[in-house]
């Protein structure tokens, strides 16, 4: 019956190895570096503000906008339908609760481009292939969609459609962001994610 001493010694030795490892609950990238790099350097990772304006106006449900700015900035102004996940929180916790539905395209945006680029690579590195950025961020959105003006004498059908979409999206944006605080809070709260609780059982 010496085998039980051997097995105990083996288990103690393995746990000794574990004691020296920096174990955390955080996840690690699952893809290979060159694969990830090729993927994120591709142009197909971004959506223009016009494309996103189109999604919003058409009420397309196949995508999710994530606003990476702080909570105060989000409350002041946000793209209609966006969910607020401040960047520092995004990288600190498990993104599964926001990105778990892999059928939906997730589009990150921030004030400029920097944080959305970071988040894109981070999400794709963890295996969430369906992640994209909004080119130019909120700054570009405001310049192009909100302040859009048409100059010139004649307008082609396509330009007209574009202009209409921008105008409609701009209306939705202004409507949402000029709501009195209480109503706005209600709308924004309803967009928050609640972390799905795990099911489990016991013996």
């Amino acid at each position: 019956m010496k085998i039980r001493k051997d097995i105990s010694a083996l288990l103690v030795l393995l746990s000794l190895i574990l004691a020296f490892l920096p174990l955390t609950a955080n996840r690690s990238f699952t893809v290979k570096p060159d694969f990830l790099l090729t993927g994120v350097l591709d142009e197909a990772t971004s959506f223009t503000v016009d494309q996103v304006a189109d999604f919003i106006v058409r009420e397309d449900t196949g995508f999710l906008l994530i606003d990476l700015r702080s909570a105060e900035e989000y409350r002041k102004q946000a793209i209609p339908g966006a969910v607020n996940v401040p960047y520092s929180e995004f990288i600190r916790s498990d993104p599964e609760k926001w990105l778990g539905n892999r059928q939906i395209r997730t589009i990150f945006y921030s004030a400029g481009d920097l944080e959305s680029d970071y988040a894109l690579v981070y999400a794709r590195g963890l295996g969430y292939e369906n992640s994209y950025v909004l080119d130019g961020g909120l700054t570009e959105w405001i310049t192009t969609v909100i302040k859009t003006k048409f100059t010139g004498e004649r307008i082609t059908a396509r330009e007209n459609a574009l202009f209409e979409t921008r105008r409609r999206a701009g209306e939705l944006f202004t409507e949402l962001n000029s709501l009195p605080d209480s109503l706005k809070m209600k709308y924004l709260e309803s967009k928050k994610f609640s972390a799905r609780k795990l099911d489990g059982g016991c013996e």
Binding site: R4, I7, S8, L11, V12, L14, S15, L16, L18, A19, F20, L21, P22, L23, A25, R27, S28, T30, D94, E96, G127, L198, D199, G200, G201, C202, E203
Partner: protein, 200 residues
């Protein structure tokens, strides 16, 4: 479920098949360890047979070490592993009830089903009693709800409470387990009963 599910998505039938195979393995392991014998199980409390401690503790340690390594190699996402919610009062009261039931009946729920499957009548009655108890619990829920949900602490992990790394906790627990096995074997010699042997 299962490791590798963070790398691939398994079809549902495979999940269920895996669950079935694991259950089969569990039942097999319990039976070959002799846990269908109520004398062996009750021996844990009288001191003459420490098999229960060794088997279950070893299983827990292997699962702990295995899941930590799998998590380190990126195969298992520990955030998706269920952690029991801790209700202090309910744990204490439930533990007392279960301990009393264990030593009186000579079975615990899992081993009761195990013994029932080889045809033991006392195990069948025990499992029926278990179902009755669960039914009673749900029927009287409005009355005991306060007690059952008191002192909620959330899904706590011991290493978080102690403030040490999971790896260090694993080492301490394994060392504690080895020490307890050694003590248990000394107890077995001390409390040995000549009319009850280690065989069934």
């Amino acid at each position: 479920m299962a490791p590798l599910s963070s790398l691939y998505v398994f079809p549902e039938w495979l999940n269920i098949l895996t669950a079935f195979l694991i259950g089969t393995g569990f039942g097999f392991a319990l039976e070959q360890a002799g846990f269908s014998s109520s004398r062996k199980l009750a021996g844990m409390f009288y001191g003459y047979d420490a098999t229960v401690l060794k088997v279950f503790f070893t299983a827990a340690i292997v699962a702990l070490i295995g899941s930590q390594f799998l998590s380190y190699f990126g195969i298992l996402n520990l955030n998706q592993v269920y952690v029991n919610e801790f209700y202090v009062t309910a744990s204490v009261v439930g533990g007392i009830i279960m301990g009393a039931g264990f030593i009186m009946g000579g079975f615990c729920p899992g081993t009761g089903i195990c013994a029932m499957s080889i045809g033991k009548v006392d195990a069948m009655v025990f499992v029926a009693g278990g179902f009755a108890g669960a039914f009673l619990f749900t029927e009287t829920w409005p009355m005991i709800e306060g007690l059952a949900t008191a002192q909620y602490r959330g899904p706590v992990k011991i290493n978080e409470v102690l403030g040490i790394s999971p790896g260090l906790f694993t080492l301490l627990l394994t060392a504690a387990a080895a020490a307890m096995f050694w003590l248990a074997e000394m107890a077995e010699k001390r409390f040995a009963r000549p009319d009850i042997t280690n065989d069934l």
